[in-house]
Symmetry: C2
């Protein structure tokens, strides 16, 4: 591969060779995926959203043994036991935390006082400005096309990144629909200095998702994901029998209570981790329609970097 230096504010901040981040996804990104990505020169993230504090501790310990390179932990700020999670992160000397799904005010300061670098995930310019104000070192700008939980503004990656670039001083990592070297180059043209990739890594060899879920991703066609449950927390999921039930209720104007009852507890675990493709919540991005095969994390990172260079030279 042609040697290219990706020196920018994101590689400097994260201490990585390539400004590529693997999203911290529930039920997909444990130590195995995170360390594989970090070993490939990108940033691996342990997704703490689906872990109890003791489980997170175990994953961090294993990740440290599996890679010498920097890795991060993603902490959703609405996590009920967040104090305990944050204690684990700091005690284990994790150097980078990606925060999401919540107000960055409290924890950004707390983490930065302890020498931890903080990147906050946002779905809109408004929240990005709040994150910058709170002292975040960078933001992930995540468009409407991303899998899982998302914003109410429905701003797409193509619109969100230039909006952030125009108003922010801190660097931007683009997420939502990012899949290839092509899309990485496009994200950089829009003003990003890094990309965060979820769906393609969710289907990777090292992902802890169930094989049924990974195989399903390879078959997803365009239009087979949708952002639903907007009356609760908007979430992009695959159209399966569980989705059909959600949709049926939404079409007749069901109440928040009715939707909460249908959702119940553990739906995403059931789908993604246990492989129940009928009744599980299968969180995945629009770009799943381009993920067609099993790949290792290293293959993904190398292929993206190679295509980025090729595309850049051919523009």
């Amino acid at each position: 591969m042609e040697q290219v230096q990706f020196n920018n504010r994101i590689t400097a901040l994260l201490g990585v060779k390539y400004p590529i981040v693997q999203a911290g996804m529930v039920w997909c990104s444990g130590w195995r995926l995170a360390s594989a990505v970090s070993n490939a020169g990108a940033l691996g993230i342990i997704g703490a959203g689906s872990m109890r504090p003791a489980v997170l501790l175990e994953h961090i310990e294993k990740c440290k043994k599996a890679t010498q390179n920097p890795f991060a932990v993603n902490v959703p700020l609405l996590y009920p036991d967040i104090e305990k999670l944050m204690q684990v992160v700091v005690q284990q000397g994790v150097q980078i935390v990606f925060t999401s799904a919540g107000n960055p005010d409290t924890w950004t300061t707390w983490l930065k006082e302890r020498g931890v670098k903080v990147v906050h995930v946002v779905s809109s310019l408004k929240f990005a400005l709040k994150a910058q104000q709170a002292g975040a070192d960078a933001v992930v700008g995540e468009g409407f096309e991303a899998g899982g939980h998302n914003g109410r503004e429905e701003t797409t990656t193509f619109c969100l990144i230039p909006m952030l670039k125009e108003k922010l001083d801190i660097p931007i990592i683009a997420a939502g629909g990012v899949y290839s070297g092509r899309s990485m180059l496009a994200a950089f043209a829009l003003g990003a200095e890094g990309v965060q990739i979820g769906t393609r890594f969710a289907a990777s060899v090292e992902s802890s998702a169930h094989d049924h879920f990974k195989q399903k991703i390879w078959e997803v066609e365009e239009g087979q994901t949708e952002l639903v449950l907007k009356k609760l927390n908007p979430v992009r999921m695959l159209k399966n029998p569980f989705y059909e039930k959600v949709k049926e209720l939404e079409t007749i104007g069901a109440s928040v209570e009715t939707l909460k009852n249908l959702l119940g507890k553990g739906r995403s675990k059931r789908g993604i981790f246990q492989g129940d493709l009928q009744e599980g919540e299968l969180e995945i991005g629009q770009i799943a329609a381009m993920v067609r095969k099993s790949e290792t994390a290293a293959e993904i990172v190398n292929q993206i970097v190679e295509e980025y260079i090729r595309m850049k030279n051919s523009l």
Copy 2:
């Protein structure tokens, strides 16, 4: 401005200096806007969707007098009097037709037999493949973020363009969220060879939209447009009192009939052309949040080309 040659399949097909197309928008794009864009070296389009055949004839005649450069006509294929519109187009010697909103099978062949170049607007890979099969010379791939009528798949520009690039042989023009040189460069990285821009031209000096509507665009903030009326034909519009009524009905699961009754006739004319910001349907794209001032069509084209070159050199 640095001299740059944009020679590719789109500039060759359309006979233009720059691979930039002004979208054929209802109530915005008459002969004045189309000729100004064509005179600036891009492709102007007369939007026939809001014109009776006699009105279209008048616009084509005036456009021919106002520019020596190629221009096109956009014809929505669901237009009730489409035979008459198409006769006008061919009799007037219009060389390029952009078709949208309907099945390209019938009219693509008819137009091509008469020496007219055909570009079909699509919102999904499925429809793009149909357009290619029908003989279209190119497609406009229009993402979820675009203003006005849109597809049911909700595929965003960032996901749609690489999907099209992977499967199509004919060239692609990217639309939806395209606003600047930055976004043009991003669209090219994703695989497009041209861009179609709507919202920014809708607010331009030469647009036939009402001043109230143009001024409103300059104030739009992120999250203030939404794709609604999905039970009828999905359309992205500005959040105004008319939108609130639509939303209220949709939230309680209103029927197609109820929604049709609310919509009635002439809502977009009322909003865009007559400037009724309360009761009109204000069709506009997400990227309206970045349009902040009055510009001429030539200023828009020149600024995009200049920024494209600057961004390309700085990548």
